[in-house]
Symmetry: C2
Subunit: 339 residues, 2 copies
């Protein structure tokens, strides 16, 4: 197992990426190809104990910045770390890649270079997030902001496999994010998708509303990339906002400060329970190769966990299973894939 | 000032609506017309001390249920409490109405019977919600799930007036809910709207992302009704979810239970800070009459506050100001209102 790491991506760049990669190599015994500026990466590597058998460096002369226009940057900067990492997968020299860089660039690079799995019409980013009762999957959170019903059905098929093999839940419950429970609710897109999902043979439990996202009612929530991205960012901000609010309130008196000290375990549990680094990265499902996208603000632990997810994808043959399922659907003629 | 109350709406029906109405009459001296089943309302009224000069009952023989298909129900049940209440406003016998019933029915009834303010193309539901720093406005949260750029511009014009006169903030900052800060982000709808808002003369601060919703960065956030509805419901579920999570964690040991007791003021502050009943109801902006929609799960206090908001609309002539602003825009020819 050999995994390529875009070592230049993320808000903190090589510092965090190299740290996370070393942890993953040590913890899981995976081979790691660190992709980026040779000198910078070697300087970072000096801080750690690592095995030359497990970690190698692949030079890349360019970087796609976090704020760059993705599609353009990927085409112009052919030697960028994300492109070089994706190419290592394309050429079969690595089995997966992990990046915390510009998400749009990762989607563009992986889609252009790796292409899509046979039958898949659009890739989708799937994110696991903590709920009151365990973790759930939300797909898509930004790869496809103008989806068609068939795309959402394919997300459900891919999400189902992800939950089954990576999150290890049998018969995952699939739901559609909407503004009401009834089949008639929402946009034309969602009403069409509802029908497709009902006939899909998946464990489709119907529409869920915004208030159900956090409840853990559904193992896998399907939505378009625009709404998914907004909801994801709202969810991400909750822990931060709640903590900031509590801190302000708890510092108001000596008694509440004392109380806060006693309550520490509960606060730590909330922090841990809503910590995205616990969940690892978000796979770009549907591309013909394994591409795990980590949060730009990832810690070294989050990168380590994203690499673990990449390893899980390889071990459980997730992409082969997706291609198999999508192929079955195509043969059954149930997917009217017109574009 | 006389305000019509749909006394049959809401999850708890007349029990809560009558309680809230009596509180508003006593606290603000408003005249109240309670609309619904005469016998049921009179029975409820017996529980309170109230003035016959302030509170009257208007019989309505039908009720639109919370789960009924809105447009159909409003047309079939002509004598429903929501229709009777809206008609009291139409006929000038009341100056505003408050309902906690079926939101879709309220939108349909108000739009059909009252019509729209001159120049307004679509009504929008505006909701105030608590953030880290004061309260913000989100519009639209469900009246219009397939908006056009001009509709969103009109929401900004109406939201601006609401924040200025009801929330009493000078020069409100207006933003557009999107998946990135850059003008080029998001759907065609949002890119078009971005241009209209930039040229609008409003204090448009650009796009905000999901993570900014709760931060209080913007006084008024503009979005389509689908995304607004999902975000609203996610926000509503946060207090509940966080509280449930903390309760579970804090009950794990005697020390954390003791700590929780000391921290009580902070927990109560969180509850109050995220309590929608503090904010009152959501106005349906753009209709030719004042219609305040309260949450189905409203408490009596929330109903009282929704009635207070209705009073504010009357006192500050919000609808006249909206009609004036929209009129100015039309005359300037800046609104290409084609449909």
């Amino acid at each position: 197992m050999r995994i390529a790491i875009d070592a230049m991506g993320g808000d903190c760049g090589p510092q965090v990426m190299v740290d996370g990669a070393v942890r993953a190599a040590n913890d899981f015994g995976y081979e790691i190809a660190l992709v980026g500026d040779n000198d910078v990466i070697c300087l970072e590597l000096e801080k750690y104990r690592w095995s030359k058998e497990l970690i190698t460096v692949h030079h890349a002369s360019q970087v796609v910045g976090m704020e760059e226009q993705p599609a353009q940057a990927v085409r112009r900067k052919r030697g960028s770390s994300i492109n070089v990492a994706v190419n290592l997968v394309k050429e079969g020299r690595c089995e997966a890649l992990v990046t915390a860089g510009n998400t749009g660039a990762a989607v563009a690079s992986a889609t252009l270079i790796l292409g899509l799995l046979p039958g898949v019409k659009r890739p989708g980013i799937a994110i696991v997030f903590p709920t009151l009762y365990g973790i759930s999957l939300l797909i898509d959170v930004g790869a496809n902001i103008d989806p068609r019903p068939e795309h959402l059905l394919q997300y459900a098929i891919m999400g189902n496999i992800y939950v089954k093999y990576i999150l290890r839940k049998q018969n995952p419950s699939i739901s559609l994010l909407n503004i009401g429970k009834e089949e008639s609710k929402g946009t034309e897109l969602l009403r069409e998708t509802y029908k497709l999902l009902t006939d899909s043979g998946l464990n489709f439990i119907g529409n869920v509303e915004g208030r159900d996202v956090f409840s853990g009612r559904s193992d896998c929530i399907i939505c378009g990339g625009f709404i998914g991205n907004v909801v994801l960012k709202v969810l991400e901000s909750i822990a931060e906002t709640t903590t900031a609010f509590f801190r302000r309130e708890l510092e108001k008196s000596i008694l509440t400060r004392l109380g806060a000290w006693f309550c520490r375990p509960a606060f730590l549990a909330l922090q841990k329970g809503t910590d995205y680094s616990e969940c690892g990265g978000a796979p770009l499902l549907g591309v013909d190769g394994i591409c795990i996208i980590a949060h730009g603000g990832s810690t070294a632990k989050a990168i380590r966990n994203a690499i673990k997810v990449a390893g899980g994808f390889v071990n459980y043959k997730v992409n082969q299973r997706i291609a198999g399922e999508i192929g079955k659907w195509e043969r059954r003629g149930l997917l009217k894939l017109s574009a």
